[in-house]
């Protein structure tokens, strides 16, 4: 039975690794400028952690195979080097891995969070609420009108709580249920939540950021491919959480201008 356990553990390790090695389940295409750094980091970690996983399972399986039920009174013995060798090995192998991944591998994080958005980035405000995202563009005047939570009235499509009667800047603000952006231009997303916690996740953009009620957070990214991509809420926000999604519509600059013109004329 010990031999069987050894073999089964080895099989489990190899079968588990198979879909990873063959990329059967992989990330979708990357349409961002920073995503390659995340994918690279994920790949490097997969190589190191994957190797550690397979080797440890094989070793475990082999030792179980070899050292099970050696009979009553069989002489037991210790591995040469003992605990000291294990401690040294852990520090060397895992320590290097910690340093390599932990310190050098923060490039992607730095690209997303430690760089300021460019001054010409397109500013879009994103509001999350149970169970929809809404997006607001400043309109031709380039300025967002102030928000008045008490004026929020979904029945009359005032999702953001704008007061165009009194606020001049709010009059030309464009509100949309999809996030339309031009390709290859940086977007500076200004995020706030209307009610509870939500999150903004676009798999293809390799971006995920929580909306935290009471906090104004922001995010910046550049999409490099036109197309239609899903924006998902990834922070449990109530009964409709699974269905809270919107679309990211990456357009060519011309199409984006056209889209914007249409929206402005609708206001």
């Amino acid at each position: 039975m010990g031999k069987l356990l050894g073999v089964v553990l080895a099989i489990i390790a190899l079968v588990s690794a198979y879909p990873i090695v063959t990329h059967k389940y992989a990330q979708p295409i990357d349409i961002s400028t920073h995503g390659h750094a995340i994918d690279e980091q994920l790949g490097d970690t997969m190589a190191e952690a994957g190797l550690a996983f397979v080797l440890s399972q094989l070793l475990l399986g082999w030792f179980i195979f070899k050292f099970t039920n050696r009979g009553q009174g069989a002489k037991v013995f210790h591995l040469k080097g003992g605990a000291k060798m294990m401690v040294v090995a852990s520090f060397i192998f895992v320590g290097t891995e910690v340093l390599a991944l932990g310190v050098l591998g923060q490039k992607a994080w730095a690209e997303v969070y430690f760089t300021a958005p460019k001054s010409d980035a397109l500013q879009v405000q994103a509001q999350a609420g149970q169970f929809a995202f809404y997006f607001r563009y400043p309109g031709p005047d380039g300025k967002f009108g102030p928000l008045h939570p008490d004026k929020i009235d979904e029945g009359n499509q005032n999702y953001f709580g704008l007061d165009p009667a009194n606020d001049v800047e709010a009059r030309d603000d464009v509100v949309a249920a999809e996030l339309a952006i031009p390709v290859n231009r940086e977007v500076h997303l200004l995020m706030h939540s209307k009610d509870v916690g939500h999150s903004f996740y676009v798999r293809e953009l390799r971006i995920q950021q929580d909306f935290v009620p009471g906090l104004d957070l922001s995010l910046h990214f550049t999409a490099t491919q036109t197309g239609h991509y899903e924006i998902l809420c990834t922070q449990l926000c109530g009964l409709g959480h699974y269905n809270m999604k919107a679309y990211l519509n990456v357009l060519s600059q011309d199409d984006f201008d056209k889209w914007m013109k249409e929206k402005v004329s609708e206001q």
């Binding site: 489990i12 990873i20 389940y25 970690t45 294990m86 899903e230 109530g238």
Partner: protein, 594 residues
Amino acid sequence: MDQAVQPQAQAHVHAPPEGFISKYVFSLDHKVIGKQYYGLALVAVFMGMILSWLMRFHLVWPNTKVFGLELLSKNGAPGGVITPEYYLSLLTMHGTLMVFFVLTNAPFAGFGNFFLPIQIGAEDMAFPRFNMMSFWTTFVAFLVLVTAFVIPDGPPISGWTAYAPLSAIGKDAGPGLGWGQTLWAISIALFCIGQLLGSLNFIATTLDLRAKGMTLMRMPISTWAWFITSCIGLLAFAVLLPACLLLLLDRVAGTSFFIPSGLVVSDRLQNHSGGSPLLWQHLFWFFGHPEVYIAILPAVGIVSHVLTNGMRKPLLSAKVIIYSMMAIGFLSWMVWGHHMFLSGMNPFSSLLFSFPTLTITIPATIITLIWLGSLYGANIQINTATFFSLGFISMFVTGGVSGFFLAQPSIDIYLHATYFVVGHFHMVMGVAAIFAIFSGTYFWFPKMFGRMMNEKLGMVHFWITLIGAYCIFMPFHYLGIAGNVRRYASFVDDFMPGLMPLHKFITIAALITGAGQLVFLVNLIHSRFRGKLAPDNPWNGTSLEWSIPSPPPWNNFGADHPIVYHDPYQYGVKGAMGDFVMQTSPEKIENEAT
């Protein structure tokens, strides 16, 4: 000698119990309390498992009726079909039951209560009355929690992490967030009180009640694990308790600890201001991450203890494992922020939290390599307890390596809130810890109940569980890599159809593996009444629990106070009784390592 011992024996912490109630219900005996904790965990684990069945079933057959479910919740499952909000209720209750009432109760409070005093040669816990209070508070916490199932509002839907303000606002935020969420907060606050009493007791007992000769370093690794865990528990639950009280105040007294101003929920501007949702997250995870170690360190201790016996040789170094557990316990306080990389917390602090998270892998690797290295040259016994310990090592490795991904903020941007996370924590905190509970059960059952468990059924249970657990939880990682988001009641996203076959595979595996646990239940119940009578020391063990009758008498060691002569794991040596020497045996061992 008899005279010298006599006064101490009479000064036992409590008198022998008389009558059914003081013997089995409101018992002061740590062994009965340990069994009560274990029993409660057993009820909770089967409830939690059935909830997970319902969730898995709903995910892949969303419109299929579950026979009889409408009887449990008319609103949650009209006609037997689970609604999205009821799915979230199931999810919340599954997580809460499993994390608190199973993974904390069984390996720590259950086995710890029964065996910690015995393994150090004590007659009972330092504070038996606190001990009884600790269990009964936990029991009331459990009742309060499951009451949420039967109230009209239904159980809460905010997940076991109860993120504010969803959990703080009240019924405006959704179904289950009225009374259901209030019951949750009361239940967890009570649970914290129970754990604080228990932790204090464990610490005092370990430090004060050790038998003669039982130096700290002569304590078995399991006892060390319970001791370190109680130190963690004392600090962690002391933070969760006030957090839950503040949450309760926000809910029922109109305070705003976790609710900022200007929130519009269900078209109503909420009358709150000045609170911070991040405060809840910090408080919760300040408890929540150490909680992972509260679940896994006792497991590490139990497995080290069982494995040494099953290998018939000492570990390469028990001391290094103990020091590594301390290092893990210490580092566990510096890592909570890795749950919050994307929460809007300062991005620099994400890097600060990432580093200790990655570093904690070093002591965990040391422990794993010591186990692996110790297997080399062993004489591994074929029994269910040992096999579950070996399975634990496999799971511990698998769950550990996936942690390496999530510890890095740059990868977490993509994998956060996906099934990869679900796979990771189920593997390491769920399945691994449960393997240790099984291992401990098969190993200690004879001592606890005086009867042997059925080994054939045990092996059937082991194989179903090992293969089943991998079939369920390994694919979760693949789904996560593909970007499958967790906590969705239904998969409506465009990319999901391609992933549904894998989801079906997981559900079928979960149904089979879950059903396989009935083998364990049958074995447990059958062996309890009909099992072969157990000798005092069925596994040729060395530690103190094997030096007394199975089951132990009410005062453990009777009038004979044990004297300890050796380190706990004298296996693979020539002793009077075979290849081992018990801690209580005065015989000399050649070249005894100290």
